[in-house]
Symmetry: C2
Subunit: 466 residues, 2 copies
């Protein structure tokens, strides 16, 4: 036992963190900057220190100390968020769990895996291949499972496999005071006690820090057929998807790319589809079922004047076609060299999607801004990538106003301010508007679990007045 | 405006309830008895009064008054519970929402319906037929949607469609003090704020009273094929199901009936299947897919020495075959005339199912009790109907001990004390054991939402010491 060195240049909380966690605590300016923000345009300030935890015990120690010092803690996974959920504030500690990246258990017959929060989706899926299983939910971009769970993230596969909400069975969570709890069960279902798992999923680190996640797994499908369809109008595209979802068709993915996006792709990658509203659709299953499902979709598609541009069962070719969807953002940004995106994320009941998108396009046109639109149309979720030319403060202001009007428009038709990106900093006001009647209940729960308000302060909930 | 009549024979809280809600409040002894318990063997005492609410406003008024008087409130739907969750205690008020049975909105294209809590599953499904839609989750027995949501109920379809957890989008909830909140969203997904919906789903009326439920709907399948298969052993039955679930097969239902159940059915209904471990399995979808799915299942089944006893796509014939599953309980009870069942409800990771059931059968044999077993095998959930001969206190004591050992056995392999029946009175101790580390968190949340502890006191959580 050696007494910890007295380091007078650091604050008392950092001193105590170093005493407990040694070299896992860093105050190196470059590291502080790199861990201070996510991929969004939201503002941030340098934290006091970064704790690079390698175990639940580390997280527990860090929180116990920060709790004693009433010091704000900002949990962080892969930093791939889009609403500033892991952006740090001055005087805070960044609690980085990205080094907690062990796959603890793959229960193949029970279709679950228990992994540490820092494991990346791609790492998990690599490890699952030998079991012919996959983790099928989550965003297209690679991200840590802890961050995905904390954000209640999803992506193109949600229409079939659900979001993180439907794919997390159990969690290990460290509470604000450092105590460690286990929520949920590794069984496929349970009616035992309060569903704490789903309280922490989507709470963005404001109620506790997720350190382990037990995820539902799905078989890797034997076969898939994907197709690219051009439609004469947005209304027809959505009507076709509604018709498919109301039939016995099991659509695995169905993505909308508006004509502006398709045009941007053509300029950026040489993508050659007709410049029109476009649906990319996929069916998975056994080889014969995939064909019959796709054939039935094609029959429906004809009723809505859709024209097939491409179709394939070849995984390589399908990957190339899907790449266009993944290139949508870089292609959009290339329309205005040097621009940054303000990405919107409303989700509405699918029947309201055409009116919501068309009114937004009209609104957009009146602003002079450029914003290609892509949508997880089967879920009613769509994104504008509003392009912000470098140094154009007026465009930025206009973009924020456009987004504010879009949020109001979505809420007015029973929509939500965020389908999958989370609240973070960016949607605090919209969330409060959306959940006006339930806001006090959320605040009570926050106060009961984090009475000192140290966990990701200022995110999700604006405490004391909305 | 007339001043309320002073009724000196009733307690102050009942007086105030009558003043506010008039004839919706009853103290008629026969009604009190009929509303004092569910279908379980658990004890109950007569409440002070029954409030028969017909609106969320009624529920709000009743709770506001009970909150003022610190009077316990026991919410009640259809009273079909199996763990005493709606059993009343002396001095409590029964808050009966079964008359709140309006279907408020069917959003067919958006695949949801918003209904009052007292709507029965059968009523909802009758109304959905014209839309070619169904509410596909929930138990086999008819029950109110509010009660199903409060219990996080499920049944034979959970393996495909999920439980109530996966099928509730949004709720209207009245809190302990009478305030009304709306949780969730009618969108298919949302990352906006804390997931209060899933906190109330499964909380069994201890955190708030559910008055409206927004449910996910599914298309009525075009076709279905069901089959009945006999297997030489339980291990082979479970191995076959695991194999099917790990393939691209989409099993809609897969139910296990043990040989004791099949024997009981033969005696009770003349059901003619071979007396063996039996699987009833169903696939739904388009006609050709149903055939290809079933054929692939049959191929797998042969690998596990399964023999097909029956198979049909005819809805009437399928209904008759499924009836055997629904007759399992009455057939079991007929084995010992006049007996009542103690129904168990553990759920384990599916790979642990054979060892858990076999050890339980061995244990059962050592007790001399009779207990046919049925199981939602795809979920790892199984039920013993332990037969309690009339007036046999020793058998009842043995049954409780057997269930206690079963609960320990399930928890030891990572199982849960209740897959679908809820905690109620019967599983309070087992729930505390299962969620030991998270119990304080559940208690904090209960205390923050119901500080006077009036909501379904004594259910789910034993407050102040486990």
């Amino acid at each position: 036992m050696t007494a910890p060195l007295k380091n007078t240049s650091v604050s008392p909380v950092v001193h105590d963190l170093i005493a407990a966690l040694g070299s896992k605590v860093s105050t190196e300016p470059e590291l502080l900057d790199s861990r201070a923000h996510d991929r969004s345009y939201h503002s941030w300030e340098q934290p006091l220190a970064v704790v690079q935890a390698t175990s639940t015990h580390d997280v527990s120690q860090a929180l116990r100390i920060c709790h004693q010092h009433h010091t704000p803690v900002v949990p962080r996974g892969s930093g791939t968020g889009l609403e500033g959920g892991s952006n740090t504030t001055a005087g805070s500690i960044c609690l980085d769990v990205s080094a907690m990246n062990r796959i603890l258990n793959v229960a193949a017959d029970d279709l679950y895996a228990n992994v540490e929060a820092g494991v990346m989706k791609s790492e998990l899926n690599d490890a699952l291949k030998e079991h012919h299983l996959q983790f099928a939910a989550g965003p297209g971009v690679d991200a840590s499972v802890g961050g995905m769970a904390a954000t209640s993230a999803s992506g193109t596969t949600a229409v079939h496999y659900g979001t993180l909400k439907e794919n997390v069975l159990a969690l290990t969570v460290v509470l604000a005071d450092g105590s460690i709890i286990r929520t949920g069960s590794t069984t496929k279902k349970s009616s035992s006690g309060y569903d704490l798992t789903h309280l922490f999923v989507g709470s963005e680190g404001t109620l506790g820090v997720i350190t382990e996640v037990t995820l539902t797994l799905h078989p890797i499908p034997e076969a898939a057929r994907m197709g690219v369809w051009s439609l004469p109008s947005l209304q027809q595209a959505v009507d076709l998807v509604v018709k498919a979802l109301r039939s016995s068709l099991r659509v695995t993915r169905v993505e909308l790319l508006d004509r502006v996006t398709v045009d941007a792709l053509a300029r950026y990658t040489g993508y050659s589809a007709p410049v029109s509203e476009t649906l990319m659709v996929e069916f998975v299953g056994g080889p014969s079922e995939v064909e019959s499902q796709y054939a039935r979709f094609a029959e429906l598609a004809e009723q809505y004047d859709a024209a097939e541009h491409a179709s394939t069962t070849d995984p390589g070719e399908a990957g190339r076609l899907w790449q266009a969807r993944h290139d949508a953002l870089p292609a959009a940004l290339a329309l205005i060299p040097g621009s940054a995106p303000l990405t919107t994320d409303v989700c509405v009941p699918i029947s309201k999607l055409p009116e919501c998108i068309l009114a937004t396009k009209e609104d957009l046109n009146s602003t002079g801004l450029v914003a290609p639109i892509v949508g997880h149309v089967g879920d009613g979720n769509f994104h504008l990538a509003i392009l912000l030319p470098p140094g154009d403060a007026e465009a930025e202001s206009k973009a924020h106003q456009l987004n504010a009007r879009l949020l109001d428009r979505a809420l007015a038709v029973g929509g939500t301010c965020t389908g999958e990106h989370g609240v973070g900093i960016g949607k605090v006001g919209a969330m409060a508007k959306e959940h006006e009647s339930a806001l006090e209940t959320m605040r009570s729960i926050k106060a009961s679990l984090d009475p000192r308000g140290i966990l990701n302060a200022g995110k999700v909930l604006a405490l004391g007045g909305s």
